[in-house]
Symmetry: C2
Subunit: 207 residues, 2 copies
DNA sequence: TCACTCTATAGACACCGTGTCGAGTAGATC
DNA sequence: GATCTACTCGACACGGTGTCTATAGAGTGA
């Protein structure tokens, strides 16, 4: 987690920065990043609009700070997952995907804001892509290992599979927790995603 | 395709409107909708900025006109597809998905612009969602039929499957043809998507 | 106690893109 | 030739962003 914002690391004033971030995450649950002006974020934290720029260079940089924390949490939870795919592969995949479902659900405001903002902001795109790359690499590695031990059939390159399935998760979670009209029910989404992953990776089509 | 723009349907002036749309689609291949000001679209069609408003109420409404045409093309091509899933299901799905791959590829500028704009514009969202709904219904129907004739196993509700797989296609095609860093190669994307659809719908996991 | 320094704050300003309004032009039709 | 109407543009107002400058106030050392 790099140092976002322009302040040097000091004791006082951190609470103000945190206040801005808290206010921001709260405001983002109701409306989108574009709909909320910097003035609103500032007033939400009890400061003037121009003073906002003392803490963050722009709205996007504020979002980066929020996103940093969410990504760190996912990575922390993924890292502490048991990597035992030998005993019950379906359950192991389900647990991995479950981490994303949970964190996305808890921080849906930040996640959806990031997905929206990445098309406009190269920095947000870079941070998001870097995180996705980590998860894609993780998935690729496991798929390859599963094939090597004969548990999964060959076919599509594991890297392509990993990219596609991760993009699917991103889009579906975004739709579901963003309350889009075309989405899967929150209670069912983990089942659906896990099933598709498992059938895609291990499934064979009877002829 | 409803009447976009504010002009009443008349003979002359349609070419101007078309000129704007052509210029727009050309400009959109290089930069995003947000990056291009109305002034640029107008000058691209040889008119002044304020005159743009004579033809379209806003940038988004211009996009709607572009999107109308793309969606109509997809639907037309999907409708003229043979619906024979009995003989070779994998090939039939591949052809259906192929329509989306081709049209998305040909009109990638409009498609990606629409995907970006829908988060901001309720009208774009409505049009896009309506189109997606059509394709989801189409997919759901076929999956249900395939299960009914015993060709596909039960499990996840076919509607959930259809939504998820269609969202996957949307995201992956957007990534691939938008030249995102994390994407599938253009030559491989149809193979990958078709494989996932088929394995998900027909595949069984050996125990 | 008195400067001095550095963080923190806000008001004022300039800029850019959007959308509206009203005045004006050109070509067809009577 | 009058007029009607589609069409065109310049000028304006608005809202959001980002910068610059002045200054308040807390901590620090002589």
């Amino acid at each position: 987690m790099t140092q976002r914002g322009r302040r040097t690391a000091r004791i006082s004033g951190d609470d103000r920065q945190d206040a801005i971030l808290s206010a921001a995450e709260r405001l983002l649950t109701a409306r989108s990043l574009d709909d909320i002006s910097i003035e609103e974020f500032a007033h939400g934290a009890g400061i003037s609009r121009s003073n906002f720029y003392f803490y963050f260079r722009s709205k996007d940089e504020m979002l980066l700070a929020l996103l940093d924390r969410v990504i760190a949490e996912v990575n922390h939870r993924v890292a502490s997952l048991p990597r035992d795919f030998g005993r019950d592969p379906a359950e192991a995949w389900r647990q991995s995907i479950g981490v994303f479902v949970e964190v996305f659900s808890e921080h849906r405001a930040v996640s959806t804001a990031a997905i929206t903002a990445r098309v406009r902001s190269p920095e947000v795109l870079a941070l998001w892509t870097e995180a996705m790359q980590t998860w894609v690499d993780y998935s690729t590695e496991i798929i390859t290992a599963e094939r090597a031990r004969g548990a999964a059939p060959d076919g599509i390159a594991s890297a392509d599979l990993a990219v596609t399935l991760n993009l699917m998760n991103e889009r579906v979670l975004s739709a579901t927790f963003g309350s889009e009209k075309l989405a899967v029910n929150q209670d069912a989404v983990l089942d659906v995603l896990a099933t598709i992953w498992v059938r895609t990776i291990y499934g064979v089509v009877p002829t």
